[in-house]
Symmetry: D2
Subunit: 343 residues, 4 copies
């Protein structure tokens, strides 16, 4: 029996008010700026709006980054203690730039997630009416979500894409376009007014953001957690995916999201980005992760963190932990030769 | 025993030189323009280059569409008999616009696929040297594939994205930028010259395109085919994915690609876009498709068509068909009471 | 697409009053004696009692065979048209002699099954009382089922086993023992009387018998059927069992019984005797059988026949057949290019 | 994270010359007679011959028991420290009496297994020749294994079964039969001589025996071990079997034997007796057992003990243990936030 550190003995700290382990300096990197937090900019994006819903928005100095890669690199090289970036949208799907950046480069850890309902406002220079509008701008993702609205209310307006919604607002301010789709909160920033609000063809579009930090001790389980990993199957063909899924299924762990991403090794070579219900400190999740570690070429743990949604878990982590603990106790009795005394 | 049409009796036409069934008029739509073929434009894109490798490029009148949606709609409404659009890139992953357009709206069928190696040329106005370059443009996807090259050779040039590589070339012609990344073939079109060619950080980037038509009779199996479907699992959680994969695995059908896409019903609700090895006329594939039809909420068949790659199949469709046929013959003997006479 | 006989086209005859196909002469064997039916004897066994519950008991001449092997050989060589033998007991488990005889030698087919509740009577010569009893006999299987009763009521009586319960009764008649455990019906046959009846430690012991004939056309489905097979996995290790089970599971076919039996090729080499819910004419069963045929070294079909129990099926064969037929119809529409017209 | 005894911390004793823990007295039962060892008698059986191959045969006082149940009860009530009984035969399959006795009653533990090649000698009173033989006896299991030999060499001799092979030899000695099939070693015991030896239709028949003791500390892993359990599925239908098998398969544990046995709760209700490769102290086996504990209604651990056969293991327990340990160490690094430092 190996002498390696037993998983059950891992001392995940109890949840307390003291979260110093999260933001404390690490010895293996240069002193960081934990008080600074970056986000996918520019100012006025939905990402900034999402960040403003977090306590970090009050306690940290916030600054925009020009791209997901730049935001993550700011954390990696110590310019920021944390970064908020979008990872998934209920209409557009995965934000692949984020998935790919997290799968490569120096590892980062997801500390939190934020869900933000997405609806657009039509921002105009003060005084503009719908009848005045000849040209429209916004990010291509916005366009996809307001296409039907546009066809009904502004069938003749010409669309040109901007690099971001906030950038679109800036271009309206500068007179390049008559109006822009953006978050209502961007109006004030650019001196515009919201002519129409709550625009979204999908009705209930939501974007999910993750707050990333450099790796550190995992926060304790809350009973409503998520765990994110990226796995590179041992074999190239997608048939290996069946085996990956079996590792979760056999332990009763529910998967919440799975994305295939190219590994860059050629068409048909994929890695898989996975969110599962539960925490690495929960025995079923831990055992499933160990199973993946055994059967995959490579696995990257991206963190265990509290779920932001209100959806009830499919499984009950406390009960599952209890079942796993009972089974472990039974094994101990078997080894001692008192297997059925209390079973 | 039900009297419905038995699958084995389906008369998929033998492969012959006569492919008239593919382009012939259909009675349930207005007369189309089968001689016209559209592609994701504008002129000078990689999609046009891919189309030029097909016989359709000679026999059809080609015209660009402004977006994937526009190209597909041109086929749906009869403006074109076929459309070529990109569906997957070995570096960037799925072209989600194509996947989502194929999963919704009036059904279309994949008739062919084309693989095109992607390398960029640096296009300049004649006479420009690398030292002259201050500004660079191109599609964001191109930027992702030339980033390292840029950092090495043009570290100080300023990048601004264009709506397509071809559009970037046009902007260089018009003097807006000093150079653009695009396919070498775009140079002539815009009166530019290729200062550097064969640029791609990834080395062997490939894009896969599909030729779409309105549904019609499936082409006969060639022995090296692919089948594409989109499935919406019955249950919402991704746990249902395990069951989907099992339907293929138990029949020995190899999967080539799987993508989860949001259904638009909220975060965590997915459909799956799947490419499998083999043809709907191959018994293993047919049986797996029937299995999916039984266990899913909805399934859309996107076509069976010849593989464009040179990779050997993991399975041997002829041998698999033979095994399936032998099993069917054995069943018939069992029912007749002569089960082991020749077994 | 292969030209082999399509499974859906198999003409399993509709259920009618005419069952002549079952007992009619076959051309490939010598004229049999279909009016004769044998059973595992001697007279007075539970097997005879079970046979007496069948219509065959009235229409056929019955005769005992000395062993399961002898009974089956009587059918194989034409001495009998049918044989009834025990196959499984709720207390003792499988009757391995029957399983092994069915797995080897010339194939036979199960036409019916019979369930018989098993309780023993204590048979004595007229006038004997419990106090007189010093010695007891019966078949070892009987002993296992009356052990507790014996310990309570005849703790001092000496047990000696007989070759069958009926043989035990004969020995009591001949004065060799004071009493025998046997079916109550055996009393009259041997001039004995039943001192105590309804003895069985287990309370609700049941034995399952099967009526075997030479292979012939399978009887039509009744909607409440069973299918029996023996399969020899391709690979030797029991890990192959998982794959066998998956063939049933993925088609939603419920298994009712599974037994491993040695193949005679050495310790650790097994074949598997399986009863499944449904009829070979039911599409899910047929497809699962074809799956087994593909992945196993050898498979022997033992018949599809009506269930004798009153337990409701886990699945609904009519509904399953309908789902399979719908899927087949959808495939036909896909091939024709009208895939979603009615889906 | 629960405070229960972590499985990895179980102190399975290292393998040493000191095996005192195996035979030492236990406090919770009356003083046993560990120096006494019983076996399935009577004297002269193959079971005795198998026992004579063990060191216990020298150090212990041996005595026969009249049945498997009696032998096991002798251990349970302290009359013997150990019992040897047959459990499986390569020709006849499982010895169901042993399986059923081990699944019920006070738990016992398998300490060793013994494999004995089975061939029969034809024992006669000195002077008898084959031509003199009119009557033959032996155990029914022997009869099954010499049937073809009898048909060839003694086609006219009359067979009558005896309660055991040794009992048959005794009856020959007493003049009741002319010859008996038994182990050659029984000749001397009953003053007979072996007229023919090495008789067995199957050629290489082998019987497997297990040495049972009262539960105590499990012996340490040897690297070539077996683990035996009985499991009662949570759900009644055999479909639950698929889930049981998956628990082993997903951890890469190879199964060596699986038997279904009736639970006595009615036809179609089974428990499963399973032998797996490896030791409860091996991480894959331990984790699989814990999985079974979680998903089954009841599980009984019957012991981990050295394999007696010379067959190479399908898996390599040392390598598997190493993979599991590496995975556990990786988890610990993930929790600490140093997940990829050495991976």
């Amino acid at each position: 029996m190996a002498g390696s550190a037993p998983p059950a003995a891992i001392a995940v700290p109890r949840q307390t008010g003291d979260a110093s382990h999260r933001s404390g300096p690490r010895r293996d990197v240069l002193p960081a700026h934990p008080q600074r937090c970056t986000y996918l900019g520019p100012e006025g994006t939905f990402t900034e709006a999402a960040l403003r819903t977090l306590p970090e928005a009050v306690t940290h100095e916030l600054f925009p980054s020009g791209s997901v890669a730049a935001a993550l690199d700011a954390v990696r090289n110590g310019d920021a203690g944390a970064a908020l970036v979008p990872v998934e949208n209920s209409v557009e799907g995965a934000v692949t730039a984020t998935l790919d950046e997290l799968a490569t480069g120096r590892p980062l850890t997801i500390r939190r997630e934020v869900l933000l309902p997405i609806s657009f406002a039509l921002l105009v220079r003060p005084g503009t009416t719908l009848d005045d509008v000849k040209s429209v701008t916004g990010h291509p993702v916005a366009q996809a979500q307001v296409r039907r609205w546009l066809a009904r209310h502004l069938p003749h307006a010409e669309w040109e894409s901007a690099a971001s919604n906030a950038e679109g607002a800036r271009l309206v301010r500068d007179g390049r376009f008559d109006c822009a789709f953006a978050g209502e909160f961007a109006a004030r920033l650019y001196g515009l007014e919201a002519l129409v609000t709550d625009i979204n063809d999908a009705g209930d579009a939501t974007t999910r953001f993750v707050l990333l930090e450099r790796p550190g001790r995992v926060s304790p389980p809350t009973g409503r957690d998520k765990t994110s990993v990226v796995v590179w199957p041992d074999r190239d063909e997608p048939g290996a995916l069946l085996e990956l899924l079996r590792e979760w299924a056999v332990r009763g762990v529910n998967l919440l999201r799975i994305e295939s991403r190219p590994t860059g090794e050629g068409l048909g070579r994929y890695c898989f980005s996975i969110d599962a219900e539960g925490h690495i400190g929960d025995r079923p999740v831990r055992e499933a992760l160990m199973g993946l570690h055994r059967i995959t070429r490579k696995i990257r743990f991206l963190g265990s963190y509290p779920r932001a949604d209100r959806i009830s878990s499919a499984g009950d982590p406390l009960r599952a932990n209890h079942e796993f603990a009972k089974a472990a106790a039974w094994i101990a009795r078997c080894v001692e030769g008192i297997g059925e005394v209390t079973d």
